[in-house]
């Protein structure tokens, strides 16, 4: 019986982890849908956003290290601490600025190139942003605190202990992440269904040329989509950064999102959510049941193998558009 409860606990926690994966995967899907770019830099965007947030919040001088190295000065800090909301708002502005820069400096020049070239460009971008983030804000580990709670949820533990005699572990941060992700998805859906820009975005996703011909500005849509993806990256960065501190490894969460995308399909927002949940639950349960038999640490590859097996039967992913090939 205990084993069963524990499995249920692992299952629930897997779902929560899945939500965290979905948050990263969402950013990929948004950009892929609207511009056909497989944006490898999404993970680094999350890192960059989180770095910027902490930097702004704690009043760090950007490029302090570079300035000090060149001019021999000792500037470090503006000496202020901003409230979280203000810092988040400013970071969103930075991310929008970044989206504009990316569009004008990179994407505009690569219109109509093959997908793999665009993919490579985003890898180049990832390198650049990684270096830029470090040069701007320094490479040390930063503590990110925007007031999200962390640690075991006592109420869940108490209630489940009363019901089943086994107190479940749920991280409060995960509960918050789930709520925020739900809000975010609802907002995205509402935006794309009920606003003019949202409809234009869907039109572009459907057919670039047709969208252009009815007077939709592709460039504006791209900037918008990259800004939204930047915002999603910021949310993901806050969630992951709260847990582990903001540091280089944050950018590697992109690797956790890739199997989610494969499973859910590159073009589907519900796919990203459902895929994330399946991967989260799958890898946790696998580690729980099979992991001890094979020596553990299976989580890195299990998600990929699961997605791979799945794709063999359904090459377009769970919710992806059916691939129709004509000669």
């Amino acid at each position: 019986m205990d084993q069963l409860f524990f499995a249920a606990e692992v299952f629930l926690n897997g779902l929560m982890t899945g939500v965290m994966y979905s948050l990263v995967a969402l950013g990929f899907v948004l950009i892929f849908k609207a511009s056909g770019v497989f944006n490898y830099a999404q993970g680094v965007l999350a890192l960059f956003a989180a770095l910027t947030l902490v930097g702004i919040q704690q009043g760090q001088v950007p490029f302090a290290h570079l300035i000090n190295a060149i001019f021999g000065t000792h500037v470090e800090s503006f000496g202020w601490t901003l409230p979280s909301i203000a810092a988040i708002a400013l970071t969103v502005l930075v991310m929008i600025g970044l989206a504009i820069l990316i569009e004008t400096l990179v994407l505009k020049h690569l219109v109509g190139q093959e997908p793999i070239i665009l993919f490579m460009a985003t890898i180049g971008l990832a390198y650049f942003l990684e270096g830029l983030g470090d040069v701007m804000w320094g490479a040390d580990i930063k503590t990110l605190d925007v007031g999200l709670p962390q640690g075991i949820s006592d109420s869940v533990e108490a209630v489940t202990a009363e019901w089943f005699g086994y107190g479940f572990f749920i991280d409060r941060l995960d509960i918050w992440a789930t709520m925020i992700a739900a809000l975010l998805v609802a907002a995205l859906v509402a935006f794309s269904q009920y606003t003019k820009q949202g409809r234009a975005m869907r039109a572009v996703a459907d057919d670039h040329q047709a969208a252009l011909s009815v007077g939709i500005s592709l460039r504006f849509i791209w900037i918008m989509v990259w800004s939204i993806a930047g915002f999603v990256a910021l949310v993901a960065g806050i969630m992951w950064g709260t847990k582990s501190g903001v540091q280089f490894s944050l950018s590697l969460i992109a690797l956790k999102a890739l199997p989610v995308l494969m499973l859910g399909g590159f073009t589907s927002i519900p796919g990203a959510i459902v895929g994330g949940l399946i991967i989260g639950v799958g890898e946790k349960l696998f580690e729980f049941w099979v992991g001890p038999l094979v020596g553990g640490a299976t989580e890195n590859w299990f998600a990929y193998v699961l997605a791979l097996l799945f794709l063999v039967f359904r090459p377009q992913g769970l919710f992806g558009e059916k691939i129709i090939e004509r000669v």
């Binding site: 524990f6 606990e9 692992v10 926690n13 897997g14 929560m16 982890t17 000090n68 000792h74 470090d134 490479a139 040390d140 580990i141 503590t143 990110l144 605190d145 962390q150 640690g151 075991i152 572990f169 991280d171 992951w240 847990k243 582990s244 501190g245 540091q247 280089f248 490894s249 944050l250 590697l252 969460i253 956790k256 890898e283 946790k284 580690e287 729980f288 992991g291 020596g295 553990g296 640490a297 989580e299 890195n300």
Partner: protein
């Protein structure tokens, strides 16, 4: 065409790092970028600052200035090799702070005749100086760390661990796997059960592992972690309300940056260490006058006094002492790597000498010899005080269980000797 030649020439010049001149050269193969950059930076700063202090205050060692050319490895073995080759000309000793790079350099230093000093990391069986002529890993290695940790737990439990459950959470790499064999032996000897929980690098996501720990309720958790894995593990341990005082990390999982992201939750977390922490040592007065205040501190002196900074500083202290010893033995100040090796092999770090340096009780007293390149393996335990944001040393230096370790070291170094075709020296 002419411009092309010029560019090519410029490129050739830039590609060949300039070989350094006559001073004593102690390259610093550091890493300030990449997934472990935050730890590497502090270590490199401590390492640099001590040599800067010697140069500024004493004019070097025995009248010879110490040059510390720095080369960025990013914890990457290929860059490590490049850095080694770029800096090896005239260099005396290497300290790459990476187990992977160490394994790569062990065969090379034997051929190039350079000293490799790997305090608290690298290949444990390098303690056997008969096989590893050029490698030193004093004052303590991973097996010592594991053994001292278990000894500490024995003390806590009145000398009896039978029936206790101990979990080892480890970085799934060469580094993390090091203590397993020792701990298995110790488990057999003391009758505790050991469960091994690997975490794949980088270790951003550890939920299932900590759920497992929550279910199994081990009495103690040991951790061999590095980089982001430490912060997440400590956070998750706090999340499941694992009693922090029963959670002990190895020295590389015991720096300020590992515990601060978890805030108050990390209070009481323990880690091993073989060096002192904080700035309550007389040496820091000199460091302040000669290095920090004149603005000569490495990277602005941001991390002075932190746990990892202190470890880098300590590594530099040991190297400096070995150089001093070598100069004394050789009767010349411009020593060669061979003479430095002799210096290491005759090194006697006493408590008095540490006090003289201005670091009383900063590290263990140890003595090296031709056969013993690892000292006596003493380490101690420190505990994190989240309120004061300081590490407090809570035990004295403790010796490991050499009865268990010595056969293991002999076995592993013999295996290496056989594989690499090394004939052990007579000592």
């Amino acid at each position: 065409m002419k411009r092309l030649t010029l560019t090519a020439l410029a490129a050739a010049v830039a590609l060949t790092a300039a070989p350094a001149s006559a001073d004593l050269i102690v390259p610093n193969l550091s890493y300030r970028t990449g997934p472990y950059g935050a730890n590497g930076t502090q270590y490199a700063d401590g390492f640099n600052d001590y040599f800067t202090l010697l140069n500024e205050r004493d004019g070097g060692i025995g009248g010879e200035l110490i040059q510390v050319p720095e080369c960025e490895t990013a914890y990457n073995t290929e860059k490590g090799v490049e850095c080694y080759e770029a800096t090896k000309e005239g260099a005396l000793v290497f300290n790459p702070l990476s187990t992977g790079i160490t394994y790569q350099l062990i065969p090379k230093v034997g051929v190039d005749k350079k000293v490799l000093y790997t305090p608290g990391y690298g290949r444990t069986s390098a303690k056997n100086g008969k096989v590893f002529e050029w490698v030193f890993n004093a004052p303590a290695n991973y097996w010592d760390g594991a053994s001292v940790a278990i000894k500490y737990l024995l003390d806590e439990n009145g000398g009896d661990l039978s029936g206790k459950k101990i979990a080892l959470v480890y970085h799934n790499s060469a580094y993390g796997k090091e203590p397993i064999r020792t701990l298995q032996e110790l488990a057999e000897k003391h009758g505790f059960t050991l469960s091994e929980i690997p975490i794949e690098a980088p270790g951003q996501e550890q939920k299932s592992q900590w759920l497992q720990i929550r279910r199994d309720q081990p009495d103690y958790v040991l951790m061999w972690g590095w980089g982001v894995m430490n912060q997440v593990a400590i956070q998750e341990a706090a999340n499941i309300r694992f009693p922090m005082e029963n959670f002990i990390g190895i020295w590389w999982a015991g720096s300020e940056i590992d515990v601060t992201p978890a805030g108050a939750g990390a209070n009481g977390y323990k880690s091993m260490t073989f060096n002192g922490v904080g700035m309550d040592y007389p040496l820091y007065d000199d460091l302040k006058t000669h290095v920090i205040d004149p603005g000569k501190a490495s990277q602005g002196g941001e991390h002075v006094g932190s746990a990892v900074y202190s470890r880098g500083l300590y590594a530099a202290v040991v190297i400096a002492e070995a150089i001093r010893k070598a100069q004394e033995l050789a009767g010349t100040s411009a020593i060669t790597p061979e003479q430095l090796r002799d210096g290491f092999e005759n090194l006697d770090m006493t408590d008095e000498r540490l006090t003289e340096i201005g670091l009383p009780d900063f590290g263990p007293a140890f003595q090296l010899s031709c056969a013993n390149h690892g000292g006596n393996g003493m380490a101690r335990v420190q505990q994190w005080d989240a309120e004061a944001k300081t590490w407090n040393l809570i035990t004295e230096f403790t010796e490991p269980d050499n009865e268990v370790l010595d056969p293991l070291i002999a076995e592993d170094s013999e295996a290496y000797a056989q594989e690499a075709g090394v004939t052990p020296r007579d000592c």
